[in-house]
């Protein structure tokens, strides 16, 4: 299988004292990979480093074979990395359609298409529909949504940028069983569209259902990597 993301010896030390990640290395292939581990393990820090929001203290990140350490966050998005935030970051005063339209602008730019505001919003509507948000909510402000809805909206905005790899951080936390089921269905369908996922997740049911590979992080280090089928073959 082809490698989509390669993490080499990544370390992160906050404020010269807090070791959030120490010498983390792994590769992921096209597909769905889960990262799990207790709070404070360094999962979000790892996502921030991959998406460029936080700088690693040392180490290398390769995306589709290219070293992207020096890329600013928006360039990483342009290169094909989309992400959600553990605590949703939305444009609160804007409508759902406008929130997603901002992502669509980047998606259009990637394929060098020039879209006017109406076609941006039209495409945003299609994505919201795909994600499963009801049409009667398209025009309300993002801040009016429930947490579960905000998380789905965040997923929609990132998907709109046409990513190759999505980093999703604890999307199912705070969701009801039904919402989580729906989310898992959406992820599956996005995967069918060719989007790979790296997901930080605590819900073991979701992990077992979706992930082909599971990475366990503990106190900034990888303590276990298992692949689907490991159990069946008795490894």
């Amino acid at each position: 299988m082809k490698t989509i993301l390669e993490i080499k010896n990544i370390s992160k030390i906050y404020d010269k004292t807090v070791v959030a990640l120490s010498n983390v290395s792994f590769k992921i292939e096209y597909g769905i990979t889960a990262i799990t581990g207790p709070n404070g393990a360094g999962k979000t820090t790892l996502f921030n480093i991959i998406s460029g929001t936080v700088k690693a203290s040392s180490g290398e990140i390769r995306f589709l074979g290219k070293r992207i350490n020096g890329y600013q966050p928006h360039k990483r998005c342009m290169a094909g990395i989309g992400r959600t935030f553990q605590i949703p970051r939305l444009f609160d005063e804007n409508s759902l359609l406008e929130n997603v339209a901002i992502g669509v602008m980047t998606g259009a730019k990637k394929i060098k298409e020039n879209m006017n505001i109406d076609s941006l919003k039209k495409q945003a509507g299609e994505i919201l529909n795909f994600i499963g948000i009801k049409e009667n909510k398209y025009e309300i402000k993002a801040k009016k949504l429930t947490l579960a809805e905000q998380k789905m909206l965040q997923l929609a905005t990132a998907v709109a940028t046409k990513p190759k790899l999505m980093l999703i951080d604890e999307l199912s936390s705070g969701m009801t069983f039904q919402d989580a089921l729906r989310l898992s269905d959406v992820i599956k369908r996005l995967y069918d569209y060719g989007i790979s996922f790296l997901m930080v997740e605590h819900n073991m049911e979701l992990i077992n259902k979706l992930a082909e590979k599971i990475i366990v992080l503990h106190e900034g280090q990888i303590v276990n990597v298992s692949e689907k089928g490991d159990n069946e073959t008795g490894k």
Binding site: T53, Q72, H74, F91, N94, G103, M105, T157
Partner: protein, 309 residues
């Protein structure tokens, strides 16, 4: 018309009141009234220009620096023999370059850090102007010839330049500011990190807006110094040119394009009117406007639940 896409109905309504009032004064007025109207337009342009930086989420407290640079560079180029109209643009360009340097040097800063750094950056050109012989040091330069003169009647057109400039600047922005840019700016302002994660080059937008914003300040500074005919560090870098545009924009509504213009015009008009009654202390209008904005009109008069106008 593109402008209409991003201007709200309330904004349009009040523009239809405020701008004609000022224009009428420009056409019919004379003496004190005419000068006041022109000065109102001057502050309105500055307020608009200041807000370009604010639209990317940053509050600058040091825009007077750009104003002063524009003024000094224009006058000095004029004295050295360059055509005076051209010198205005050279002054504006110098301010724009300084604006670009400013934003390049503190692109990582935002919020309070940005505001404080902007004060520091506005002091550097002032200190330079106070110490060079070419700027006339502390005493400045006097007897600057006015810009345009209709020779036959020997009347300077200076009173009309500000109104005309405001119109031209608005027309230029009308041509560029579509709904898409507007949406991107609102994203940058509300959540920079989310905007970056969605592929928006936030730093570049901040720099471009700062460049245009400082260019406008330099341009107005240059026109102003030709208008009043003298320049010295205290007047050219007067804190007033940092604060009045800021207050006008906050009062008018800084998330809109026209809001700052209307806010500045209303405040300047009140300020001038009150100064006729209370020659001292009339500037308290600006303090009052800030209080009203913070306490009752979060988001400025155009965000108020029931539009005042």
């Amino acid at each position: 018309m593109k402008l209409l896409q991003i201007v709200t109905k309330q904004e349009l309504k009040s523009s239809l009141i405020a701008i004609p009032v000022f224009t009428l004064i420009l056409i019919n007025g004379s003496g004190y009234l005419l000068t006041a109207a022109s000065y109102g337009f001057l502050i309105a342009i500055l307020s608009f220009g200041w807000n370009l930086t604010a639209l990317t989420g940053e509050i600058s407290l040091g825009h007077a620096g750009f104003f002063g640079i524009g003024a000094y560079v224009a006058v000095i180029s004029g004295i050295s023999g360059i055509n005076s109209v051209l010198s205005v643009f050279i002054g504006a360009l110098a301010a724009g370059v300084y604006g670009a340097i400013t934003s390049l040097s503190f692109y990582r800063l935002s919020g309070v850090g940005f505001a404080l750094a902007s004060i520091a950056f506005s002091q550097i050109p002032k200190i330079v102007a106070e110490n060079l012989s070419i700027t006339g040091a502390g005493s400045g330069i006097v007897n600057i010839k006015p810009l345009f003169i209709i020779k036959s009647i020997n009347t300077p057109l200076r009173e009309y330049i500000m109104g005309a400039s405001l119109l031209i600047i608005l027309l230029i922005f009308t041509a560029f500011a579509g709904k898409k840019i507007w949406l991107k700016l609102s994203a940058i302002r509300q959540n920079r990190i989310a905007a970056e994660a969605l592929g928006i080059a936030t730093i570049r937008y901040k720099q471009i807006n700062m460049l245009i914003s400082s260019f406008i300040f330099g341009f107005v500074g240059a026109l102003w110094t030709y208008w009043i005919g003298y320049i010295n560090p205290d007047t050219a870098f007067d804190l007033y040119f940092s604060t009045a545009p800021l207050i006008g924009a906050l009062f008018g509504g800084r998330n809109s394009l026209i809001g700052p213009i209307i806010g500045a015009l209303i405040l300047y008009l009140s300020d001038s009117a009150i100064s006729m009654i209370f020659p001292v202390g009339h500037k308290a209008v600006y303090g009052l406007a800030i209080l009203v904005t913070i306490m009752a009109l979060r988001g400025g008069i155009f965000k108020a639940k029931k539009a005042i106008i």
